[in-house]
């Protein structure tokens, strides 16, 4: 279970958002919404442990993130805005490398099956350079099919996908939730997912950091 309390994010001198509370339990999803620049990506990066929160704290399974970090990262799959696809590697090599970096090496048969299921049949050995935007996105999403992670944090997973792929991705997400997985994602479109879920709306607060007391020892 991922729980966060009082999260705040600063960008330069501006406070993007503050006092964000959220809680995601097994089988639940959370959609983060907000205008451009509201801090959606910043929030996801914060939750993934990539950047420190300006304020507030995050708990994983009831333990503070500082303690639980290793366990958390072993059970987390984060797909950022940049899909970590190397142009010069084939779809298959991209998928296998990404899985190996994430600590779960894939054998070729499993990787090929995942690529075929995501709709890249016949393109497994093409360099990513010649794939379209949507196809590159699918290579990244193929990781979901082979993932054992309990929590998925996906930044704009539906971007650049065609209608069929959106439906398919929804199916994959539903399966994950049905297995008791957790999901946090950002999207501008309304998505129908199974299981219980919530929407978190980030409103861009434009006021400067005026009231913020300088902390003695910053976290």
């Amino acid at each position: 279970m991922l729980r966060a309390h009082g999260l705040a994010c600063d960008r330069g001198d501006r406070r993007l958002f503050s006092a964000v509370d959220l809680c995601v339990s097994p089988g639940e999803w959370l959609q983060v919404e907000g205008a451009n620049g509201a801090g959606k990506t910043s929030l996801l990066r914060m939750l993934a442990g990539l950047s420190p929160a300006a304020d507030g704290h995050i708990e994983w399974d009831g333990r503070p993130m500082g303690e639980a970090r290793d366990d958390y990262h072993a059970r987390l799959l984060y797909l950022g805005h940049a899909a970590a696809i190397k142009e010069d590697l084939s779809a298959l090599e991209n998928l296998q490398t990404a899985a190996a970096i994430a600590g779960r090496p894939l054998d070729e048969a499993t990787a090929l099956a995942a690529l075929r299921r995501i709709g890249l049949k016949g393109r497994e050995d093409l360099p990513a350079r010649v794939l379209s935007q949507g196809q590159k996105r699918r290579v990244a999403l193929a990781r979901l099919l082979c993932s054992q992670a309990r929590l998925w944090i996906l930044d704009e997973p539906f971007v650049a996908l065609d209608v069929a792929a959106v439906t398919q991705l929804c199916g994959i997400l539903d399966e994950h939730l049905a297995r008791g997985g957790m999901l946090i994602f950002t999207s501008h479109q309304a998505v129908q997912l199974a299981g219980s879920g919530a929407t978190l709306k980030l409103s861009a607060s434009t006021h400067p950091r005026a009231g913020a007391e300088p902390r003695e020892v910053a976290a």
């Binding site: 330069g12 001198d13 400067p208 950091r209 005026a210 009231g211 913020a212 007391e213 300088p214 902390r215 003695e216 020892v217 910053a218 976290a219």
Partner: protein, 249 residues
């Protein structure tokens, strides 16, 4: 012990350090001026003329303390960097970046006076002496630090990156010094050495020590003054800065 630690952290907050630094820097500046006057008087009028080197040797009263300071300030920067990385205090990074220009200045001064000294002594503006070469490399390290912190827009990020540079640099300074010395002995033997000043007269030593103290006071004063400017710049959006009397005008 813990009580004292807490007290120290009180001054680690820019808001409480700013007025303290404001009170302290004029004292250090005044002390520095007095010491410099005494030191210069000793070096120009009291210290005897060197029978080998004539009057030209008097530049060492600037040269040697400047070299000491340039090395010492780098170590202090590294110290603040280590504090900043361990305790994540904001003031440490500000102190490091406030010290860097002064350190670079002393390194440059040391090189310049070294050249001025070298011309009458060795007949050349520049000699690849181990110490001068190390000083030159130290100057490059300072320039690298300043250039990197200036190139990063986010001050917090600049501080952290600068801290790593300072720490990597301070680990490397002894290695560099040792390697340059090794290189020097391999290539020319110890034919030219600045340490060969034969039995230094006591007055000369005193002159140098007083000048070193004067430089020390100057460095502290200017670092405090500069850190105040840095604090104001970075904290300009906070309420405590807005409430400062000098901001009311």
């Amino acid at each position: 012990m813990s009580q004292r630690l807490v007290n120290w952290f009180k001054f680690a907050s820019p808001a409480s350090f700013y007025p303290l630094a404001g009170k302290m820097w004029p004292w250090f500046a005044a002390l520095g001026t007095v010491l410099a006057a005494v030191g210069l008087w000793i070096s120009f009028f009291v210290a005897p003329t060197d029978f080998q080197q004539g009057e030209g040797y008097r530049i060492i009263f600037i040269h040697v303390p400047a070299s000491w300071m340039s090395m010492f300030i780098y170590c202090v920067m590294a110290f603040w960097a280590a504090i900043g990385i361990t305790f994540n205090t904001r003031l440490s990074g500000m102190m490091s970046s406030a010290l860097a220009p002064t350190g670079a200045l002393f390194a440059f001064l040391s090189l310049w006076t070294g050249a001025l000294w070298g011309k009458p002594m060795w007949g050349a503006w520049w000699v690849w002496d181990a110490r001068l070469t190390s000083e030159l490399i130290l100057f490059f390290l300072y320039i690298g630090y300043i250039a990197l912190t200036a190139a990063i827009d986010d001050p917090r990020r600049a501080d952290k990156a600068g801290a790593i540079v300072a720490l990597v640099g301070v680990v490397n300074v002894p290695i560099i010094y040792f390697s340059v010395k090794w290189w020097n002995t391999l290539h020319q033997g110890a034919s030219v050495s600045m340490t060969k000043a034969p039995t230094m007269a006591a007055t000369m030593l005193w002159g140098m020590l007083i000048m070193a103290l004067a430089f020390w006071m100057y460095s502290i004063a200017i670092a405090l003054y500069r850190v105040r400017a840095i604090i104001l710049e970075r904290e300009r959006h906070t309420t405590w800065v807005a409430e400062l009397p000098e901001m009311q005008r």
